[in-house]
């Protein structure tokens, strides 16, 4: 509960800093705009998880919603993939190896441009 309250306070703090920067090029804001978008996360044992981006914390742990797990059926590539549905999952930062978001080409450029 206290954590949420603090989050709210920091939220306001971010907003005010956002107000001073009308571009919205603050990375937190940009990531917030990625919420509910399809995100593809790779983990260290070679599996991939495709779900809607639901939450992220300061440590970089990610929560995905309506997730599908993809994995190859053979150690070596290329090989056919198997998939299954998992629902709500949490991917710890420690095992995350890649992270991609589904977006248009134009958006990609703006997303990836970081404040100097």
């Amino acid at each position: 509960m206290a954590m949420e309250h603090d989050a709210e306070k920091s939220f306001i703090h971010v907003e005010s800093s956002e107000g001073s920067n009308p571009n919205g090029s603050n990375p937190v804001t940009k990531v917030r705009m990625l919420l509910f978008r399809r995100m593809l996360v790779g983990v260290s044992d070679g599996r991939f998880f495709l779900g809607s981006f639901h939450c992220m914390d300061k440590q970089g742990n990610i929560i995905l919603q309506d997730t599908v797990e993809y994995r190859s059926t053979r150690r070596s590539s290329p090989s056919p993939m198997e998939q299954r549905c998992l629902g709500l999952i949490l991917i710890p930062f420690s095992c995350r190896t890649s992270c991609h978001v589904d977006c248009s080409i134009e958006e990609q450029l703006s997303l990836l441009s970081l404040p100097g």
Partner: protein, 728 residues
């Protein structure tokens, strides 16, 4: 920042993601790793990026990836079954050395037996029987006749067992049993599996004969290729294989025979059960030979091994199936060791044999007694499912006797009534449903059974009221005294009395199961025995009334020469069944008063807990009975009234235990043909005798002597306790 190809971004070389997992039309996968990192730095400690609908509490239920307790998809040794096979995890043949091939085949058969027993005991199929890679890809084994036919048959057996348990719907109690989660249980040509196995059995039998024949005859039998090249081991291996194959075959036959409707296959099933048991003996005895000829060091921890030889079987991997078990990983299980597996099957076959020997008695009372007796050794799920399917088929008893006819017989009505139209009445139909439901409930495990029995008490109470009303409506209009009216009056009276009797029977079972499940603490025994006492009194009363009513009608018909009141009085004896109940009543009463006296005088066995008063505990235990008014006008106050003044001085005078003992001894002659009731009478005698002695000791020593310690143990009877008196 230019977009780099995904492969080089990743820490490990992976399958190119974009080619396998498409993003969408006119969209691409954009790498956001650095963006996320930048955002992390911008966040405050404890701050989260989330949407408006975010609920922290709900988010805590997310599965954590790479946590072995939550993530069932973690890649371990093999990515898939096919990869495991490609890497030689399940070779066919098992070895090019035929001796080793035979040894390994036997090990697989033994391990499968252990897996099967583990599955029956309540674990998932995926982690047990279907942890066998050979079973997951059965067609691969077609070149290996022995393994192939065995696997085919075990698959067909599993399917048959699942079918029985699903139909009986007793699997609700055990979660994992029937879930197959897409395991390959259906095979084409499984109907031919028996003939395949028979062919293999025939070949091995010939090989056995050939190796035992004296050398002169060997020339004639030279066309038989031996099972394996080591001639001094040939006999041992042939026998070991034969008994395993034969056990499988006979077990399958048992299941098929027992499934035949109306118990038609029971006699044949018994023969197959006998064969199974004898083959199990051979399997058990083969262990010595297999251990001694086993390859490698298989000596350590022989007790826990799942095979007779003690060697680990090849071709098993439970983790390959973990994704098929459930979204979350199944908890780790231990496969039963081989000896325990054999014991399990012996016990199962023994219980199935009891079912097959049952005489299909048309009397409901006999069925209920049989089921209660059957449940005493706590049989496992598979046996209970078979019993239920035998008793209830197509809404009839044994698939043969319509429920209304069963009810009429139970209500001591004459045979001719069973065709009466009243059976179409909706409440009579409902009564039939309640009876069927009761039979199903009695076949479940003790905990589930007690819960369900408690719930149906209300239904039985309600149906009584509804039937009373229905009978009045249907039969009430008849004004003239006709034969038809007599029949109707008799019908309604008998059925109503029987419904009451049955309700009290259910109540008594409910209370007694509490002892079996250890739901009562010693400070609560007093009120439990008191409640059993009041319920049993009602049960005996209704039972007796029913018998008197049927005797009256019988006597009225057979009225011939002598019917003087003196003769009638002399002829009438209380039926033994009622006296049998009276034994129990006396014991219950005795125990109630003994416990009450101990509480009143010694201040022991009191309910003095800080959380509940005795009144609250009473309500908790007997709420369902009280709500259904079973019996009527019974409450906590009645209990207090009865027990408040119990003293040892009065107890010695009204010695209920003496009554019970005397009655039990007298009843021996009435039940000499009934071994179950004789056993029960013996137990009652022991409890009565020991409690009587304990009572005398307490009175002699003086109830207030502080060195006296009284405890209650269930060493003579499962629910009537024996008082044990100790001087400290």
């Amino acid at each position: 920042m230019a977009h780099k190809p995904i492969e080089s971004e990743a820490r490990d070389p992976h399958v190119p993601v974009t080619s396998s997992i498409s993003s969408g039309e006119n969209t691409v996968w954009a790498d956001v790793t650095s963006l996320l990192q930048a955002a992390s730095q911008g966040l405050q400690e404890g701050e989260l990026i989330h949407g408006d609908n975010f609920n922290l509490f709900a988010a805590m239920s997310a599965l954590e990836i790479m946590d072995p307790k939550m993530d069932s998809g973690i890649v371990c040794k093999y990515y898939s079954v096919d990869e495991a096979i490609e890497n030689g995890a399940a070779p066919v043949p098992l070895s090019f050395d035929k001796t080793i091939d035979v040894q390994c085949t036997i090990d697989i058969m033994d391990h499968l037996l252990s897996c099967e027993a583990t599955w029956h005991k309540g674990h998932s199929l995926a982690q047990t029987v279907f942890s066998c890679i050979y079973l997951l890809r059965l067609d691969r084994t077609s070149s290996h006749a022995i393994l192939h036919s065995y696997c085919r048959l075990i698959r067909a057996t599993c399917k048959a067992v699942i079918s029985v348990v699903s139909d009986a719907r007793t699997h609700e109690e055990e979660d994992l049993f029937t879930m197959t989660y897409g395991l390959p249980l259906n095979g084409d040509g499984d109907g031919k599996c028996l003939s395949m196995l028979n062919a293999v059995e025939e070949t091995i039998s010939r090989q056995l004969r050939a190796c035992k024949a004296p050398s002169s005859k060997k020339r004639v039998l030279e066309d038989i290729e031996p099972l394996q090249p080591n001639l001094d081991l040939e006999e041992g291996y042939c026998k070991a294989l034969l008994c395993r194959l034969r056990f499988r075959k006979h077990f399958y036959h048992v299941l098929m025979c027992m499934r035949r409707p109306q118990g038609r296959g029971l006699e044949l099933a018994r023969k197959h059960i006998a064969s199974c048991l004898s083959e199990l003996e051979c399997i058990y005895k083969s262990a010595e030979f297999l251990r001694s000829s086993a390859c490698g060091n298989c000596e350590d921890g022989i007790e826990d091994k799942t095979t007779a030889s003690g060697c680990e079987p090849i071709g098993f991997d439970a983790s390959l199936n973990s994704r098929l078990s459930a979204p979350t990983p199944p908890r780790a299980i231990r496969i039963l060791n081989w000896k325990k597996a054999i014991e399990y099957f012996k016990k199962l076959l023994h219980h199935l044999d009891i079912i097959c020997s049952y005489s299909l008695d048309p009397s409901l009372e006999a069925v209920l007694r049989f089921v209660v007796q059957f449940q005493k050794p706590q049989p496992d799920l598979v046996a209970r499912a078979h019993l239920q399917l035998l008793l209830v088929q197509d809404g009839k008893l044994y698939g043969r006797d319509p429920i209304f006819a069963v009810i009429c017989r139970a209500a001591a009505l004459p045979e001719v009534v069973k065709n009466h139209d009243i059976q179409k009445n909706e409440f009579v139909v409902q009564l039939g449903q309640l009876v069927i439901n009761l039979l199903k409930i009695l076949c479940t495990n003790a905990a589930w059974q007690r819960r369900k029995l408690g719930k149906i008490l209300q239904d039985w109470r309600v149906i009584y009221v509804q039937l009373e009303l229905a009978f009045k409506t249907e039969f009430g209009e008849m004004s003239s005294i006709t034969n038809e009216e007599n029949v109707c009056v008799k019908l309604s009276k008998h059925i109503l009395i029987w419904v009451e009797e049955q309700t009290y029977w259910i109540a008594s079972r409910f209370l007694m199961l509490g002892f079996e499940l250890e739901l009562y603490s010693p400070s609560e025994y007093c009120m439990v025995y008191w409640y059993i006492y009041v319920v049993l009194i009602k049960l005996a009363e209704k039972h007796h009334l029913k018998m008197v009513m049927s005797n009256d009608t019988g006597k009225r018909k057979g009225k011939k020469k002598r019917d003087s009141p003196k003769d009638v009085a002399r002829d009438y004896q209380i039926p033994p069944a009622v006296l049998f109940l009276q034994c129990h009543i006396s014991l219950a009463e005795g125990l109630t008063m003994l416990l009450a006296a101990l509480r009143n005088e010694n201040r022991v066995f009191q309910s003095l807990g800080p959380f509940n008063t005795e009144h609250e505990i009473f309500i908790q235990h007997f709420e369902l009975l009280q709500q259904a008014c079973i019996p009527d006008h019974i409450s906590y106050l009645s209990f207090k009234d009865t027990t408040a003044y119990a003293q040892f001085s009065t107890l010695v005078m009204y010695n209920y235990f003496k009554d019970a003992l005397r009655l039990a001894k007298e009843l021996r002659s009435s039940f000499s043909n009934d071994p179950d009731r004789m056993a029960e009478l013996r137990k009652i005698e022991q409890v009565a005798e020991h409690n009587g002695i304990a009572l005398n000791v307490i009175c002699r020593v003086g109830a207030l002597d502080p060195s006296l310690k009284v405890s209650f143990e269930f060493n003579h009877h499962p629910y009537f306790a024996t008082a044990v008196v100790r001087r400290s």
